[in-house]
Amino acid sequence: MASADTNRSWYKRNEIAVTPWLFLLPAMIFFAVYVIIPIGQSFWISFHEWDGLGEKTWVGTANYERLLGWGDQNMDRKFQVSFWNNLKWLVLYLLAIPAGLFIALFLNQTVTGIRFYKSMFFFPFVISQVVVGLVFSWFYLPREGLLNAILGVFGAGPVNILGDPTLATYGIIAAGLWPQTAYCMILYLTGLNAVDPEQVEAARLDGAKGHKMLWYVILPQLKPATFIAFVVTIIGALRSFDLISVMTNGGPFGSTRVLSFYMFEESLSEFGFRMGFGAAIAVVLFFIMLGFITYFLYAMYREEKGAH
C-alpha cells in the first residue's frame, strides 16, 4: 500500500506543517513589503547621495558623519535641536498619564449624565490632530488669541508662544497633551471598570483611604492600563509631526523641529529631496525607536513570565 501514500498530494502529506505558514503568509508578505524591505532600503539609501531622480552616488558614511559630527565636523545643528526637542516631547508627553488618571478617577462615578461628561472629555481625541493644532495656534495668537486675553485680565504681558524659539516647543507639546490626556483617560476608565470591588471593600475594612487606597490598592490593579498608556504616549510623542507642521512648520527658525519633521524636510519637502541625508536621519530615529520597542517587548515578556 505504499502507492496509496505517494498518491496523496504533496499538500495532504504536509498539511499540518504547511497550513500555519499559509495562514501567516499574507501577513508576512505585507509586513516584509511595507516594513522590513523599506527599512533595508532606508539603510541602503542613507549611504548614498541621491536627489530621488538621478543616479545614486555612494558616499559611505558621509551622511552620518555630517549628522552626528564624527571626525573634524561639528554635529549637525538642526539634528541637535531636533534630538533635544524629541526628548522634551518624550518626557513632557508622559504628563498625559497622570492627568488622564486624575480625570478618569474624577469621572469614575455615577451621577446623572456622566456618559455625556465622559464623551465630552474624550472629544479632543476624536478630532484630528490638524484641527487641534489649528485651534491651539489661534489660542496662542499674539494679539487676538484667547491666551493673551486671559493673561491680560491678570495684567500679564502679551506672549507670543509660537513665535518665541524658547517657548514654541512647549506650546506645541501642551496642544498635544490635550488629546493625549483624553486617550489616557479612556484607557484608565476601562481599567477602573475592571478593579475588583472586593479588594476595595477589604482595603476599606482595613482602614485604607485617600491616596493610600489609590497607591496600594487601585494603581497596582491598573498596571495593564498604565502600561498601554505608557506605550501609546511614547509612540504619540514620537509621532508629533502633524502638530508641528500645522502650528509652526518647524519654525521659528527651526526651533521646533523634531527628528521626524527634520527627516521629512530634508527628503520630501519643497526644498528637500536630499534622500540620502533624510534616510540617515530616518535610520537614527529608527534606532531610537528600536530602543523603546525593545524595552516594551522585554517588559511585556517579563510580565507574562511573572503571570505564569
Binding site: 545643528r77 507670543n160 509652526t248 519654525g251 521659528p252 527658525f253 520630501l268 519643497e270 526644498f271
Partner: protein, 418 residues
C-alpha cells in the same frame, strides 16, 4: 470670468492665431497637460487654454489635469517619472535644475531659435541652464512696495527714491504710531524678498547672482553691508511685531487696518488687498528705493512656465502648445485683469489697463537695467534657499545673532557648492 476669457480667446482663434502655426493643422493623437494653476482665476485660464487649443486642432484630443499648486511642488517628481504627461507647469531658473539634471525636461532650444521667440528674449536667461532652454514663460509679475497712499498723504510723505528718504519716511510713520512695513515670515520666503532687494540695491545684480551661485562667501563684508542696511530698519522697529507667527495673508490686515503703511510684495497681493476693502485711491506702488547709487536697479519678477517632459508621447503637439501659449495674442488674453491679472512675457503683447500692471510693466521694461531676479528661493540652490531663508527670518527677529547666522550659511554654502 471663465466665459469672458473663453469668448476673448475664441475671438483670437477667429482672428487667426492659426496663422502662426499653419504647419500644425495635422496634429493628432492626445496631448496630456498637467497644470498647477489651481486657484480659481488661473484655473479658468488654464481650462480656457486647453479648450481653445483643442478647438484649434480638431484631430487632437487635449487632456488637462489640474493639481493643487502646493502639492505639485512635490508631485512633479512622480508625474515626470513613469508615464509622463506631455506638458507641465513649473518655475524658471534654478528651480528647473533637478529636472534638467535628471533629463526629465526636454531641451527645447530649437523652439527658442524660431524668430517668434525673440519677443520672449527678456526671460531667455531665466529659462537657460547649461546653454540650452528648457521651457517657456507664460506670465510674470513685479515685486515692489505697495503702500497706503492715504496714510502717506496724511503725514505728508512722498514715495521715497533713495534710502535716506526711505528711513525718514519710516521715522515719521513710527512717530505717528504706524509701522512702516507689514510682513509675515512664518513660511520664510517673504524675508527672501527683502534680502533680494536690499542685497541687489547695496551690491548690485551681478553680486547677488554670484552669491546665489555660491561664488561669494556669506561672511563677505559686502554681504554684511546688506545686513547692516537691513538692520537700520529692524532697529527702528519698522516691521510689525511677531511677524514670525504670520503667513503673508495673515499680515495683510495690518495694512488694511492702517496699522502698517506698506508691504514689500509681489503683484498677486493686490487682489487680496482689494478684497480686504482697499480701493485703488488708497493703494499705490513704488519701486524699491536706491541704496547704493552706483548700482543699477534689479527687480524681482518671478516667471511661471510651461515645460515639455522628455518622455512626452506627442512632442509635436506639445511644442505647438508652447508656441500657442507664448503667442502675443494668447499672452495678452491670459494676463488680462479679468484672467491672471499679471504681466505677459511676450514683448508684443499688450498690458491690461490696471494701474499696478502698468507701473510694473514700465518699471521692468525701463527701470530694471541691473537685471531680473527670479526670487530668493528660485535663484539659490534649494538647500541653500531653505537654510538661508531660515537665517533671514532669525535675523529679522534677533539681529544680534547675525555672526552665528552667517557662519551657518557659509558652512552650508561650502558643503553645497564644493
Amino acid at each position: 470670468m471663465h466665459s469672458i476669457l473663453k469668448t476673448s480667446l475664441a475671438a483670437l482663434v477667429a482672428a487667426g492665431v492659426t496663422a502662426s502655426s499653419a504647419a500644425a493643422q495635422d496634429l493628432s493623437g492626445e496631448l496630456n497637460i498637467i497644470s498647477d494653476m489651481s486657484n480659481p482665476a488661473p484655473r479658468a485660464v488654464m481650462e480656457g487654454l486647453a479648450a481653445d487649443f483643442d478647438a484649434l486642432h480638431p484631430d487632437l484630443e487635449v487632456n488637462l489635469t489640474i493639481v493643487d499648486r502646493e502639492a505639485w511642488k512635490t508631485q512633479i517628481r512622480n508625474a515626470l517619472g513613469a508615464n509622463p504627461p506631455d506638458v507641465v507647469n513649473w518655475y524658471a531658473a534654478n528651480r528647473m535644475r533637478p529636472y534638467v539634471d535628471a533629463g526629465l525636461f526636454a531641451d527645447i532650444s530649437d523652439l527658442w531659435a524660431e524668430p517668434e521667440f525673440e519677443a520672449l528674449a527678456s526671460t531667455k536667461g531665466a529659462m537657460t541652464l547649461d546653454d540650452a532652454q528648457w521651457g517657456v514663460p507664460y506670465t510674470y509679475y513685479q515685486w515692489g512696495v505697495y503702500y497706503r497712499k492715504d496714510i502717506f498723504d496724511q503725514y505728508g510723505l512722498t514715495e521715497p527714491s533713495n534710502w535716506e528718504e526711505e528711513l525718514a519716511n519710516c521715522q515719521t510713520l513710527l512717530d505717528n504710531g504706524v509701522k512702516c512695513y507689514t510682513i509675515g515670515t512664518k513660511f520664510l520666503w517673504t524675508a527672501g524678498g527683502w534680502f533680494d532687494y536690499i542685497n541687489s540695491r547695496t551690491n548690485g545684480y551681478d553680486f547677488h547672482i554670484a552669491l546665489a551661485r555660491g561664488e561669494v562667501e556669506w561672511t563677505d563684508d559686502r554681504v554684511r553691508q546688506t545686513f547692516a542696511n537691513w538692520r537700520q530698519l529692524i532697529d527702528m522697529g519698522a516691521f510689525i511685531d511677531d511677524h514670525q507667527t504670520y503667513s503673508w495673508q495673515e499680515a495683510l490686515p495690518f495694512m488694511v487696518n492702517g496699522e502698517a503703511a506698506s508691504y514689500l510684495m509681489g503683484n498677486f497681493a493686490v487682489a487680496a488687498m482689494r478684497d480686504g476693502g482697499l480701493t485703488d485711491d488708497q493703494l499705490d506702488f513704488y519701486q524699491f528705493p536706491v541704496i547704493n547709487a552706483d548700482v543699477d536697479f534689479a527687480e524681482d519678477a518671478p516667471t511661471d512656465t510651461f515645460h515639455i517632459a522628455s518622455g512626452a508621447q506627442n512632442m509635436d503637439a506639445a511644442k505647438e502648445f508652447l508656441r500657442f501659449v507664448t503667442s502675443a495674442e494668447v499672452q495678452t488674453a491670459i494676463n488680462g485683469g479679468d484672467a491672471l491679472g499679471q504681466l505677459p512675457v511676450n514683448a508684443n503683447a499688450s498690458i491690461d489697463d490696471d494701474k499696478f500692471l502698468a507701473q510694473g510693466f514700465d518699471m521692468l521694461s525701463n527701470n530694471a537695467g541691473g537685471g531680473i531676479m527670479q526670487f530668493f528661493d528660485r535663484d539659490f540652490d534649494a538647500e541653500m534657499a531653505s537654510v538661508g531663508m531660515e537665517g533671514l527670518q532669525e535675523f529679522m527677529v534677533f539681529p544680534d545673532n547675525l555672526d552665528d547666522i552667517l557662519a551657518r550659511l557659509e558652512e552650508t554654502r561650502q558643503r553645497i557648492y564644493q
